[in-house]
Amino acid sequence: MRFILVDEILEMQPGRTVLGSKFISPDEDYFRDHFPGFPVVPGVLLTEMMAQTAGKCLDAENPARGKSMLARITTASFRDWVRPGQTALIYGEVRTSRPQFATAVCRIDVGNRTVCSAELFFSFILMDTVAPGYRAEVLERFLAKSLPNPAATGPSP
């Protein structure tokens, strides 16, 4: 099982705000148990979606600081079910960003309704803690798409 819970970063101001999306596939294995006849996304996965999205916003701000890691769920509220076939829009706003820690307030909207929100606390680990080949695929895709192409924008010969 992969544990990438953000399909795409749609908008980002590194270190400030981020918007990501996640389509909730009816094929997700956890729906077999959570719950038969009443499939809903577990709150812990919604929280992880918010943490991954806000984490990418922090990682993009200052890669040298290391990789953001969820250290504490300060608050979390779940107001509505998230069902198979829906698309979650995941919002993150960084409140504090320091070399050692960061905080963010996040929410997930489905349709026009906010289904959950959380205040999250992050610490950072050195990049050499993770495997040398580690790549943040979703963040890299966004950056490749959003950053100007040096070949196209560089000075004319």
Binding site: A71, R72, T96, R98, F101, T103, F121
Partner: protein, 78 residues
């Protein structure tokens, strides 16, 4: 802020009963003053008092009184 208020703030931050907490209470006596607790304290000083504390200063804090001294030094504690 008075020392009594600061002790209440500290106790709430670390999930402790305010009674029994004193400036002499050591870090070793507070189980939640672990590595995450250090970051929690840094964040709280930052967000509540607008005090940005570096790693070395944080490491030097070994008792509640050290935190109170920091607040006092920056004029946050009467």
């Amino acid at each position: 802020m008075s020392q009594e208020d600061a002790l209440k703030w500290f106790a709430e931050l670390f999930g402790l009963p305010a009674a029994g907490l004193s400036p002499e209470t050591t870090r070793a006596q507070i189980p939640t003053w672990d590595s995450l607790g250090v970051l929690t304290l840094m964040a709280a000083l930052d967000e509540t008092f607008n005090l940005v504390v570096n790693d070395a200063d944080m490491r030097s804090m070994q008792k509640v009184g050290d935190v109170l001294d920091l607040l006092r030094k920056h004029g946050k504690l009467a």
